[in-house]
Symmetry: C2
Subunit: 260 residues, 2 copies
């Protein structure tokens, strides 16, 4: 397995973390492709491998091509990429894209989705990251399970329909949660207060849902339906109507779910 030749198509956050982890466990990441020289080169140097910015120069004989690009690029890229590489296995890493995007192009294909938030500037141990795999054939699927299993202890089969739900749910759990931190930080900074003081609260909020259902863990003015506090906060936000609107919508939603 360690001799398998891997090519990374893309050099963004996901490609960077997958590439580092694959090299770390001994895989041969033979080449990195990206449209921009800077990102291709940066990742190639990090992995001690080659890079190219030309589709025509992507090597022909990799065992697996792992595609981590913005979703909208895939439909036009796939025909070029698969051409004359029919014996190889192709996978993409996007949560929201069906495995069928490869159908009619590649003969051996699948999905290799690590459900995590990756930032280039932050190191990440993939050992606990859930990987969701899917393929057009049981052999390929087993290959992907093994590949994921060499990086993480959490490997699951998921259909494209399931993965779409997981990805959307992850947007709430991660991206929208992080935006709550952004708004929190914005309100603090604006008033000369430090975000650092929020970290014990943020940590406990995340820790609680390891033990309690999220609904059971809810606290604060909205779940108490404490209109005194809610209205004072809405008044404090009156100069920022967009933030005020988010405050009101989420408070109403908290109250609604509490009654369910």
């Amino acid at each position: 397995m360690a001799l398998n030749k891997i090519v990374l198509i893309g050099a963004g956050n996901v490609a960077t973390h997958l590439g580092k982890a694959l090299v770390h466990v001994g895989y041969n990441v033979a080449q990195v492709y990206s449209r921009t020289t800077e990102s291709a080169k940066t990742l190639a140097v990090l992995l001690g491998t080659e890079y190219t910015t030309e589709l025509d120069a992507i090597c022909m004989d990799a065992d697996i091509y792992i595609v981590s690009l913005k979703d909208s690029v895939l439909p036009e890229l796939i025909p070029y990429l698969v051409e004359k590489r029919e014996k190889s296995l192709f996978v993409h890493t996007a949560g929201s894209i069906s495995v069928d995007i490869w159908k009619g192009h590649a003969l051996r294909y699948g999905v290799f989705y690590p459900m995590q938030t990756f930032s280039k500037c932050r190191d990440m141990d993939l050992a606990n990251v859930p990987f969701f795999v899917e393929a057009n054939d049981e052999n390929e699927c087993q290959y992907l399970r093994d590949l994921a299993g060499s990086l993480s202890s959490k490997v699951y089969d998921a259909t494209s329909e399931q993965r779409k739900i997981l990805h959307m749910a992850a947007v709430f759990a991660c991206n929208f949660t992080n935006h709550m931190y952004v708004l929190c930080n914005h309100l603090l900074i604006k008033n000369g207060l430090s975000f650092e003081m929020m970290l014990p609260l943020i940590d406990e909020t995340a820790s609680k849902v390891h033990e309690l259902l999220p609904k059971e863990a809810q606290t604060g003015p909205a779940v108490r339906y404490d209109l005194n506090v809610i209205n004072r906060h809405l008044d404090m936000l009156k100069e920022e109507p967009d933030v005020q609107d988010i405050y009101e919508k989420i408070s109403k939603s908290i109250h609604r779910y509490d009654k369910l």
Copy 2:
């Protein structure tokens, strides 16, 4: 200090966790007051102390009365509570209520605000919880700093104005974040998927902002402004217009903050 006689007014989440921590470090929590017998008795048993449900039966000679009740109850309660107990120190634990609520009633008063999310069914070590204290007089303030300092290593002075901002920011960092977990769980359960798989993502989302500014930590379709994915998600949520609305509002807000 350990001989100081403390009375807890209220037996909810905050009173429960404060009471346990105070008893644990050796304070004499002499009595618990709550309007309902069940909650008064439960907390009193837990702390090995007395309880009452009658305002008239609250003991007269405590050194400090710590009031942890729903904000809206305070204005009517305070005159009864303070009457004939003018020598005692009175504090409330609410983030959003000004210290001035005591003015004209008590002679010695302040605020003792632990900024954390407390649920009765979950144990909590207060050692890292930020406490924000304020008082009408430097002596009382030092007393409150010492009291907080015996429970936590993180004790700060904060004016009522600062505390209001902290409390509102905490609603975003904690209550609204937890609601994102609620919505995530709702979407998963509805589709037969398990919330547990989200925990590594939730933990990493919280951990990232120890190192990165929240804005730098942002990932996902909204910050990439990937309208393909955003519109697919909005379409998947069309049977839940309230959730769809929240998805749209937060996505727009993420995009707006990314451009700032």
